[in-house]
Symmetry: C2
Subunit: 332 residues, 2 copies
């Protein structure tokens, strides 16, 4: 009730006639925070949430161990307004974080959103962005519990997500020589979709994959019980497998022809394409068949694509040229 | 040991000859992440930290309830490189978050840093920025457990901080008519320091206060045991008291002449100046004397500056003009 009254008071104090074309500048910082609080007030009550918006801190109660991760969506770097709707941008901003929790085999619980906003942003754009964020919270059963807004030269959303850790912790270290390398799903769809958009193609499964990636939370919880090491495919399979190789102190061998490709994607795209949000894991050989069966029961394809050996780095037998992948700062 | 070897491998794989003038662009994204991991590896082992840098998520273990907060430091909005050293910028970026945990009476535990960096940032600047972050972690006993880097047109640090909640939760709602309004310390120093810098004065207590604000973590833990509502002074006393008034559904009366002013600050600065990181709280009348004594024992001044009444908003009897304060988007 106190919350409802606070929202009512907030609405009463908003500048009148903030029409479809109204800008963030017209709402002011306090008005903007009230608007966002109103948009977020539709969230279902989360039993793990003790206190949400309206205080200096949100308060949650996660028993056991907590997982923490942060990721960002920066205009001009991670998305362009011409190609990505506000709603899809909101979904993607949160999905990147959810995928990190999936990679740790956990359950996402509570997110904080820190925004930079040009004052000339349309409020209607921002509302659609929050609508995308909220559809991602509903899909993965988490709450958006707070955050921060600042003026800035471009739109950027920096999100931190707290999750519940699985009983058996799983990370990038732990791969052992002899383990099988496996991936969930089919790869290369996100980059194939981006290339379709660049050619003016605005529909199809690859475009959907690019616009609306689905983090593998359920798969992570199952795979985490079998794997010796695990990570999500956000920088591209070869690079992300490289993170496992580095943290585990092993060599990861991936057979390019064994990597399942998304419809419309090439092997190169499957090896190098980022933002896939599938998982790559290493699994002790004797547990691999059981892992495949467990995934089959939840309708997820788990494919062996190589093996772990003594040594360092990632090798792609038969693949020409350097490791495919993406670097934000343009270096190797 | 695994961690030490990982750091060694990381150093070995860094581009050679990254001299004092080297740019972030030269390190590349992977090199940059390795550099940051190396800078952070000096941190003392935190008993609450289960796993840190090098995985998709950090893992911590906080018993009871967890506090979550996020804040940002954006170049050109919150600081300018001419007036703020890289080290002070790092300190301030984290201090803003620590102050939110202080406002909730909690203990800061683990921070995530999500950065936007122009590729032409000097690595030596970034290292000093992390040195500032780390000095703040040491001062307040928390760990920097992970984060994210992205290219961007300007430098921005978005930090999320997780803390341990006190047994008795305290927030902005809860002020009751009849309560005493009180503040810790002396106010207006940060804005007085900023104005000194603008006039070319580069030293003195106010400049230090602006450059190196000290969040009131200890005071928050003590004050939280007495207060009915509490928040930190980040937007300016009048505005932050307004947050208590709004969330509690009461009127807050502040007597301008009763507000303790920092040396060199005017009453106007004390009422409107942001980034003070002192606390404003409402305290039931019968507990006020005990609260003052408890603060006196830890060397902190607690001053009664007004009272809570039925109604809404903040009033400053005898103060001319609108409520002083700062709005990021330029509106009231």
């Amino acid at each position: 009730v106190a919350r409802k009254e606070a929202v009512k008071r907030a609405e009463a104090s908003l500048p009148r006639r903030l029409g479809r074309a109204a800008l963030v500048r017209a709402a002011g910082e306090a008005g903007l925070i009230r608007l966002i609080a109103r948009w977020l007030s539709v969230q279902k009550r989360d039993p793990l949430l003790v206190k949400g918006i309206g205080d200096d801190c949100a308060t949650i109660r996660i028993r056991g161990r907590q997982l923490l991760t942060a990721d960002s969506l920066v205009e001009g770097v991670h998305f362009r307004r011409e190609w990505t709707s506000a709603q899809d941008a909101g979904w993607k901003a949160l999905a990147a974080n959810v995928s990190d929790i999936a990679a740790a085999g956990g359950k996402p619980v509570a997110a904080l959103v820190s925004l930079e906003l040009p004052p000339e942003t349309q409020i209607v754009w921002l509302k659609a962005f929050y609508s995308g964020l909220l559809s991602c919270t509903r899909r993965y059963g988490l709450s958006l519990v707070g955050g921060n807004v600042s003026a800035g030269p471009h739109l950027a959303a920096h999100i931190a997500l707290v999750g519940e850790a699985p009983r058996r912790l799983i990370g990038r270290a732990g791969a052992r020589p002899g383990d099988i390398v496996a991936v969930t799903g089919k790869l290369g769809g996100a980059v194939a979709g981006l290339q379709s958009l660049a050619r003016g193609v605005r529909a199809g499964p690859a475009v959907k994959r690019h616009r609306h990636p689905e983090p593998s939370v359920r798969a992570g919880q199952v795979l985490g019980r079998y794997a010796s090491a695990m990570t999500d495919i956000s920088d591209g399979l070869a690079r992300d497998a490289g993170h496992i190789a580095e943290e585990s102190g092993v060599k990861v061998v991936i057979v390019p022809g064994a990597v399942p490709t998304f419809p419309g994607a090439t092997v190169e795209m499957a090896l190098g394409g980022g933002e896939e949000y599938e998982l790559v894991a290493t699994i002790p050989r004797r547990r691999f068949a059981a892992a495949v069966r467990a995934h089959s029961r939840i309708g997820i394809m788990l494919t062996g694509i190589g093996e772990v050996r003594r040594g360092r780095g990632v090798v792609l037998p038969g693949h020409p040229g350097p490791l495919p992948g993406f670097d934000h700062f343009g270096a190797g």
